[in-house]
Structure formats: C-alpha cells, structure tokens
Symmetry: C2
Subunit: 359 residues, 2 copies
DNA sequence: GTGAAAGCGCTAACAT
DNA sequence: ATGTTAGCGCTTTCAC
C-alpha cells in the first residue's frame, strides 16, 4: 500500500540503510549526490515514514503525552495550544488524556501513555501531590504546567502570581486608591497565597498600612465574590477599590456593588485576575491580570524537548509573568486601556468564513 | 525495562502465542484456566502492551486523529471531550492537531496523521469544502463534526439548528410574544440558515405573520447584535422579544436595550443560541439554546469506531438536538428556569482541591 | 487448545 | 561512504 524504504531503495538503486540515513534526517555522512537523489525520489513517491516501525526500533516517536484534568477547564485549551504550537515547530505530535482530578485515572493515564510511543509527558493543571512511581521508574522526561498544590518542584512551570498581584495593586494605587480591598481564593492554593502576598508587598512598598479588615475569603466562585464585596461595603471605612484573586469573584463583586446602588468604577474600582474570556464582554469590561497560559505551555514544552534531546536534565521551577490588561472596571484613562485586538487566528477565521461562497 | 509478552510467557510457562491470544483480547479459544492464570500474572507484573509493536504488526493502533481548527475555539473543547470520553471507553486514544482554518495546514495534518498510527480521523468544525484526495486515498474511516459550509455530506454530525430555533421561538410565543425580532448570523453559514428557517417555520406554525422588518443581519459578533437591536428598537412597531442566532449577539442586543433605558426581560425579552460559558454569569442570565457539543463528539465517535470495527460503512448526515436552557432574559417563571447544576466534574474538583491539606 | 516461527518497516551495529 | 544484517515486541499463520 504505502511506500516504504525498500521501495525507494529499489527505485534509486541504493541500499535500504542509505535511504534510511537520508530520510531519517540523521547527521550520518552521506554523499550530497546520493542524498539529493534519495530525497527527490522519496518526495516524488510521497514517502512518509511508518512511525510505528520507527518507534519500535528506536524508542523515539516524536510524540508527547499531555495529561490534563479536563480539556474543558478554562485554562487548559490555551495551555495545550502553547504546547502544541511548540511541539509542531519541532515535528512532534501530542496525545491528550483527561484524568478528571482522579488520582487513579491519572495513574492509569500515565501507564497508558508510557506503554505508548511517547517521548515525554506534560501534566497540565496538576493537582496531586503523590509522586507517581510508575512515572519515575519510566525515566521519561516530564514537565508540570500550572501545578496547584505543594511546594515548588523541579520540572514545573507556574504563573508568577506574586508579580501579577503586584501589577494590579500598583495600578490601583497609581489611580489614587489607598484603601484597597482584597478577595482571596482558597488558602491551600498556590495562586491564592502568592496573590495575597503580592497584594501585601505592594501596599508595603507604597507605605500603605495593611488592614486585615480589607481582606475577605473566597472560593473562586462568583457567589463568594458577591458576599465578600458585601462585607467590604459594610465596613465603616469602606474601600475605594477591590482587587479579587480571580475574574469570577471580581464579577460577583461588581454585581454586589451595583446591587448596593454604587457604580463601577466611579464609586468603587475593581480589578480581577486571570483574564478569562468573559472579561472583555461583561459590562463594564473587566480590568484584570492575564494568566500567561499560552506562554506557560510553550515554556514547558521547550524545556521538555530539550530534555528529550538530552540537552539538559531537570530544571528548577520556572515562573512566567502575565501582564495587566486595563479595561473599564478600574477607571483608568482611555489612553491606557487595552485595545482589544482581535485574535489574528480568529480574524483569519472570520474573514475566511464570511467570504466562503455558497455550497 | 517494561514487561513484555515474553516475560509473562516465562513466568506462566505458556508460550508467547498463548499469552498474546489472551492479552490481545481476541475471541480465539483459550482454556479458561490458562486465560485466568495469564490474566492474573499480567496484572501482577503490570503488563501494558507496546502499542508500536502491535500496530506495526496489525496495522491497528487504537488511536484516532482529531483535526481541529483551533483547540481554543469555544465549541472545540467540549466536542473533543465527547470524542475522548467515547474513545476511552473503547480503549482508544487521540492525537490532536490544529489546522488554523488553513487548507494547507489541514492537508499537512491529514498527511501527518495518516503516516502515523491512527485508525481513523475526526474533523472538528470543518470549514473547507475541498475534498482531500489524500484522505480519500488513505481509506481511513473519518467523520466530520459540526461542518460549517456546504451541503450535507456523508459521515458528518451536525447540530439540529432548525429544531433549536423552533424551541426558542416556541418558548417566546408561549410567553405571549407575537412580535419577535430575529438577529441572523452570516448567510453562508449552515447554522444561520437553519436557525432562520426554524424561526420562520415556528412563527408560521402559530399563525404569526412573518415580517421581514423584524429580521436583522449580524456577523456573530457582539457589536453586530448591538446594532441589530438598535435597528429593531427604532421600528415604529417594535418587537417585544428578540431571538438572536448566537449568544454573543444576544448579549450585544441586551446592551443596546439597556442603553435605550429599557429592561430585559420586562420590556423586551431576549433568547440567544449556543449556551456559551458566559450565558450563566452575565446579568441578566441568558436564556439560550444549547449546542449539543459534547453529544456531537460522542455520536461522531461511536460511528467512527463502528466503521473502524467494520460494523458498517459510511453514514448519512446525523443531526443532534440541543435543548432550551431557560434563565432570566426571557422572563419565564422561576419554576421553569434551569437549575444551574454544578458540573459534577467541576464539583469534584472543587471539593478535592479545597480539602487538599497543606504541602 | 497450544506452540513454533515468520515478519510488520525501520534503525543501528557492524562490516566493507 | 555505503551495504549487510539483526532485531525492536507483537500478531498470526501454520503445525501439532
């Protein structure tokens, strides 16, 4: 059926080995004339290597496994896209498995992937602390993107949440705010703690006394942001701005403020965190700190590929910085606001699709 | 390194062939006692087949390729999840490639996947009309999920948009509306035409005269919904309800209504289409027709697997129905409204994550 | 019902 | 610089 090395060997008159050496892209010395001939014939015959055979023999497959908790989780698709773009540039493909936050499923996924032809594994939004024996015994290179619990570990890429919180608070301070409320996420999450610390540190840097009254707990959900903001509004000396540890709680806070017949941002400014899709379509549009999701995917993949290539071993935890996206809820000058540029990919799609003739 | 058939053969005393026959799950006759022994030993030793070897030998890999335009597109992750869940239940894994709405990239993806060990290919949000010669010559089973252009073709799964529009309009009529505006999507999209037709047909079914004035063009984007609603509001005999062909335009319409100092749903009811993530967090919460994304993924995969298993050949176009999700913008009774049940997967996650002890 | 053996397409020693 | 050859781990005839 499909053309194989043997066919090309016959067609060119060279041996299978020589043909393989050319087509496998090794740096093995082959005379230029032979190389050229083989290449052109292979091209003409439409040769595509049988990856199964190659991987059986060489134990390399140019495929990496991605284990995600759920591909439908908000941060997962852009992280995966970052991974895939980097993989593609290097001739790799990815196998994706969902683990549903279930340690058993995850172990199973690891086992499945290891038995498959994958050269490495990337864990996305890794939520477990248990080390996987199977994983470690396999000696497959692996990276963790956006780990959620536990202390820093090797081979992981995480957002620099401390820095991001700093950005948000600094922006509010630059707008003249001195009493800034903070709505935190669950205390056992990395993200919550780092963002909280960033909030405190930035206040201190500006000599604004830290007031524990201004800090409210939340659980990432909108409803908790609503209640937290109600508490903040009930304070005798209520804040003029609120920084929420994620966009969902920020939105809840906005609703609470509006329900109290106050305006955002005129009466109370709000800044969120994550830059979720809805941030630019709610009203008022949400100022927020972007999670560098796509970038984290790329960074992790670069490191993984380097490990696969044997260029280096394990790496220390890598922190990636996101940026502040200024929109309407902070009350900043128009000039500072993000121009919501249309995603070039989406723009392409729209042009393409709208032009498509009738079929 | 990893345990193979030979190891199990040695450990049990049977031949490699027998062990293979048991472990490959064939229906080849093996005595129950042998089968049991082999199974238990394999389990104990943690045997996982080497897929590369298996696929080299048998030309089957229990892997399917998924070609998506962009994994970050809103509908793609749930479709992919539906595909993956169905695949997993059948012992399959998936390789995902992005094509960025680019025919060249797509052809390349097809070529890449075909040379790899994949038993079939699923196209998600397929936007091209050109048939791929490579694909057809490969004779690999394939399915199209949510094709966007062209006339119905075999092996495709699409949403039943006509039915969905019918649901939306019928609901508005049941709420007493007689003048219902419609904001359409681009005319060359399947979805637009089917939803438009559903709108017209349902009006007719209720003997409500069709008024072309009540139909406004849109391009799926929020801004176009805003303008369309402005036009509708400017009518001498303005509508009491608006049905928009997608949620983004519905949201734009809501903003236009609010900017005209009218209330949703008291003055004008609004129903969208798609049930995007933001529908349940905007204010008022959006009543909309759900795209059966997850289900379409599953349905397509079931058909693909049946084709791979040789159970049947090509299938005609399959339409999948979504349901109406009643929330706040239509003005329906509380009793009718969707209880926004928390996604069981997400709930699990939240419980798990919040309980996780400190590390 | 079970075992022996061939070979899938490729790569990498080893030879020349 | 090129050719010869031995498997990688598995499935599947073909014997028994």
């Amino acid at each position: 059926m499909s053309v194989k090395l043997e066919d090309i060997a016959k067609a060119t008159g060279f041996s299978i080995a020589t043909v393989s050496r050319v087509l496998a892209g090794t740096d093995y010395p082959v005379s230029p004339s032979v190389r050229e001939k083989v290449l052109s014939v292979a091209q003409a015959m439409g040769y595509k290597p049988n990856i199964a055979a190659r991987s059986l023999r060489s134990n390399r497959t140019n495929t990496v496994g991605i284990i995600v908790d759920d591909i439908m989780s908000p941060f997962v698709p852009p992280i995966v896209r970052g991974i895939q773009d980097c993989l593609r540039e290097n001739g790799f493909l990815s196998l994706i498995v969902n683990s549903d936050w279930d340690p058993d499923q995850e172990q199973d996924a690891i086992r499945t992937l290891i038995s498959r032809p994958v050269d490495g594994i990337i864990f996305v939004e890794y939520s477990h602390r248990v080390r996987s024996e199977i994983l470690e015994k396999s000696h497959k290179p692996h990276m963790f993107v956006h780990r959620i619990f536990g202390s820093p570990i090797k081979n992981s890429v995480v957002p620099d949440d401390h820095y991001g919180a700093t950005l948000a608070v600094r922006h509010l301070i630059s707008l003249g705010h001195q009493r800034i409320g903070y709505i935190n996420g669950p205390e056992n999450w990395h993200n919550s703690r780092a963002r909280y610390l960033g909030y405190q540190d930035e206040l201190e840097r500006h000599n604004i006394p830290f007031d524990p009254e201004l800090v409210q707990p939340g659980d990432w959900e909108m409803e908790s942001g609503y209640r937290a903001a109600q508490n903040l509004l009930a304070l005798r000396d209520r804040p003029t701005a609120i920084f929420a540890a994620n966009d969902l709680m920020a939105l809840g806070a906005i609703y609470a403020i509006q329900d109290a017949h106050l305006r955002v941002p005129e009466d109370i400014a709000v800044v969120g965190y994550d830059n979720r899709d809805f941030a630019k379509i709610v009203r008022p549009r949400l100022t927020t700190v972007a999670m560098p999701v796509y970038e984290m995917g790329r960074v992790a993949t670069e490191s993984l590929l380097a490990q696969i290539a044997g260029e280096h071993g394990e790496t220390e935890e890598i922190k990636v910085r996101g940026e502040l996206v200024i929109r309407d809820t902070c009350g900043a000058d128009e000039a500072l606001k993000a121009r919501e540029e249309i995603n070039p990919r989406t723009a392409f799609r729209r042009v393409l699709l709208n032009k498509q003739p009738e079929g």
